[in-house]
Amino acid sequence: MGNKKVLIIDDDAKIRRVLDLRLKKAGYQVFVAANGEAGLNLFRAEQPDIIITDILMPGKEGLETIMELRRDSPEVKIIAMSGGGRVGAEEYLDLAKKFGAQYAFTKPFTGKEVLLAVRKLLDNSPGVKNTFG
């Protein structure tokens, strides 16, 4: 499990920091990026097993990033997270799921919830459910 690579893409440094710490403590190899463009570059360089990405980000935003990730690597696991924006968080995450995210979190969530989702996805265990149903 320690070899599994996780890429975190979020423009909020504090979220990146806490998820980074939480996942590292859990034994994952973690890479962080502050926007979609940097995230895609890291993805191509490191080929992570799972990507945790925010949906609303300046520059290349989450949905666009998910579409590109899916195009480059149809098998990669994706967790989307959002606190909403111009429209509600649920609408964004619903779109994210349609675009190929396996898991979607509505803020406020905790690092532990994300960690559990990461574990479930990487263990490929069935019955994974997202937090909003």
Binding site: D11, D12, V18, L21, R22, G83, G84, R86, V87, G88
Partner: protein, 608 residues
């Protein structure tokens, strides 16, 4: 009376008729006599001229003259002259002394014309017509003389004995006509017999009119009855006229009220169509006519389907007619792409009833809800943004706290960092709530904002104090260019402080370390001008267009990395506008930004 008058009239007409007939007869008689005289004259003169002139000499002359006198006098002989070949008269028979009155022209023509001549002339002192006949006398081929004969037409009299028969016939016919005419008048007047009663019945009176004598209704009775009836009719007419005036007045009031209702409907800011049960348009207000680009005369009494040409509304208006839905008010949303592109309309259908539950028509209201939809959307977006802004710090607080609680953070340094982050995010939440409350206050405008004297020295001091700590942290120097005499403002001190701290705070937040911020305040033309110049990252042209939009965050990572709600500048702009001021911004990426605020200088006056 009337009958007498009619009788006189008939008599006059008879006399005129007789006169006309008599005149015609006399004229005819004159023409006949004239023709007879000419024939007779020609005959007589020719007869005399056949004689030799010698036949009139000596004794023969007296015989001739006597014969002529005795025989021809009754034929209207006026005179007889026989001239010799030299033109000298040698036989003159002139019982009426007319010869001297014969015009010269007549005499000359008679004497010097060969053959037979006939002429007429009027004697100079009377209107009597005289016919002169002349013929030359010949003997052995030589003219021996001239015979001139004057004849007078006998006087013509209408009542001569020879016309007794004719006159008797005329008189007979006249007298025969009188009874017929009288009977005719009687028959003609017979309908008048019952007219009086009929008129009374019309007038509504039951008083019988004495119309009859033993001989039947007299015309006077009928006239009296007519007069009475006319009186009743006049009264009834007056009553009807009064009722008509009242009805007219009522119609006027109704017409005025209708116009008023139409004006009220026209003043409404949405379209209204009123139809009857057959879906024919009874009324369409000005707003609806304008929306459909139609004239009122083109739509009234026409079928709704012909005028509206909007399938969606037509099926909405006519589709569900059954049962309970008849009285149910229904709404739908639609568009009028050809008339109002890009705008949304709410169509409401209501039914009119006569008070007893019978449907008498429909009312279709068409309201432009584009703005309302836009406001609703903006409100929804605002709430979504606020939720987003609240969720982000909450996620951080929850996650950091969870790590600490789970004992995942062992080293004290990281623990401290985590506690600090939790503290900052809590402040961020508190700041956000404060901002939301301020925005609510601004939106309510003057209802909730204070109007107090704001001394600018105090305002500037408080604002600088609020940003001094973060500025020092980044080694940013704040240069102040302040006046000796401080102007004052009137407004909400707390809101003005929020606005200025936002500008100064942004200058600190988005400037690199070891730079300068210049703050200047001055009074110019009754305006307080506050300028903040920094040496920060600057704002791109694209960002400048949205810098005062709510929740707008720059995509520049140096800016987006910083904590911010996207409400600060939007709120600042609103505060300045609320105080009647203006905010402007100039920026060059890499060089810095210059915010300039102008506020009207006001001295506080008691009672205001």
């Amino acid at each position: 009376m009337k009958v007498q008058r009619i009788g006189i009239l008939l008599l006059v007409l008879c006399i005129i008729g007789v006169s006309v007939v008599s005149t015609a007869l006399i004229r005819y008689e004159k023409r006949t006599r004239s023709r007879d005289i000419v024939n007779k004259g020609r005959y007589l003169v020719t007869l005399i001229a056949l004689h030799s002139i010698k036949d009139f000499e000596g004794n023969k002359r007296s015989f001739f003259l006597r014969t002529l006198h005795d025989y021809i006098s009754s034929e209207g002989l006026a005179y007889c002259l026989i001239h010799d070949h030299a033109g000298q008269p040698f036989v003159v028979l002139d019982p009426y002394k007319l010869v001297s009155k014969i015009p010269q022209a007549v005499r000359l023509k008679s004497l010097h014309t060969m053959g037979l001549t006939d002429q007429t002339f009027h004697t100079s002192n009377s209107d009597q017509t005289v016919y002169e006949f002349a013929k030359s006398m010949f003997e052995n081929g030589q003219q021996t003389g001239t015979v001139r004969l004057g004849l007078r037409p006998p006087p013509i009299s209408l009542f001569s004995m020879e016309r007794v028969g004719l006159l008797a016939t005329i008189a007979f016919f006249i007298f025969a006509m009188v009874p017929f005419v009288f009977l005719g008048i009687k028959v003609a007047l017979r309908p008048l017999k019952n007219l009086g009663l009929k008129m009374e019945n019309m007038a509504g009176t039951s008083t019988p009119v004495e119309t009859s004598s033993a001989k039947g209704p007299a015309i006077e009775d009928v006239i009296a009855s007519l007069d009475q009836s006319l009186g009743f009719l006049r009264e009834r007419y007056k009553r009807l006229e009064a009722a008509n005036i009242e009805s007219h007045a009522k119609k006027g009031v109704i017409a005025y009220e209708r116009k008023q209702i139409a004006r009220i409907l026209d003043a409404v800011h949405y379209g209204i169509i009123i139809t009857d049960t057959q879906d024919h348009i009874n009324h369409m207000n000005a707003h609806m006519l304008n929306l459909l680009s139609k004239e009122r005369d083109d739509v009234i009494d026409r079928p709704l389907a012909e005028v509206l040409e909007h399938e969606e509304i037509l099926s909405f208006a006519s589709g569900q007619e059954g049962g309970a839905q008849k009285t149910t008010r229904r709404d739908m949303e639609t568009t009028f792409p050809s008339h109002a592109p890009g705008e949304t309309f709410q169509v409401t259908l209501s039914h009119l009833d006569d008070g007893d539950g019978s449907i008498t028509g429909k009312v279709i209201c068409v309201k432009n809800v584009t703005t309302q939809k836009s406001v609703d959307r903006a409100k929804h977006e605002f709430v979504a943004h606020v939720a987003h802004e609240l969720r982000a710090p909450l996620t951080t607080i929850k996650s950091y706290n969870e790590m600490l609680m789970d004992g995942e953070i062992a080293d004290l340094e990281t623990q401290k960092e985590f506690y600090n982050t939790i503290n900052e995010e809590t402040d961020r939440l508190a700041g956000l709530i404060e901002n939301l409350l301020n925005m609510s206050k601004i939106e309510m405008g003057s209802l909730t904002t204070e109007r107090e004297l704001v001394k600018t020295d105090r305002l500037v001091k408080d604002c600088v104090a609020a940003i001094e700590a973060p500025a020092q942290k980044k080694h940013i120097t704040i240069e102040k260019k302040l006046p000796d005499k401080w102007p004052s403002l009137v407004g909400d001190k707390e809101l003005l402080k929020v606005a200025m701290i936002n500008i100064l705070g942004n200058a600190v937040k988005y400037s690199p370390e070891n730079t300068n911020i210049t703050l200047s305040l001055r009074e110019q033309d009754h305006t307080v001008k506050l300028d903040v110049l920094d040496q920060g990252y600057g704002i791109s042209e694209e960002d400048l267009n949205h810098i005062f939009d709510q929740f707008y965050r720059s995509s520049d990572p140096r800016i987006s990395e910083q904590t911010g709600s996207g409400l600060g500048l939007a709120m600042t702009s609103d505060i300045i506008q609320l105080h009647g001021g203006r905010i402007e911004v100039q920026s060059t990426p890499g060089d810095g930004t210059h915010f300039s605020i102008s506020l009207p200088r006001k001295d506080y006056q008691l009672g205001k």
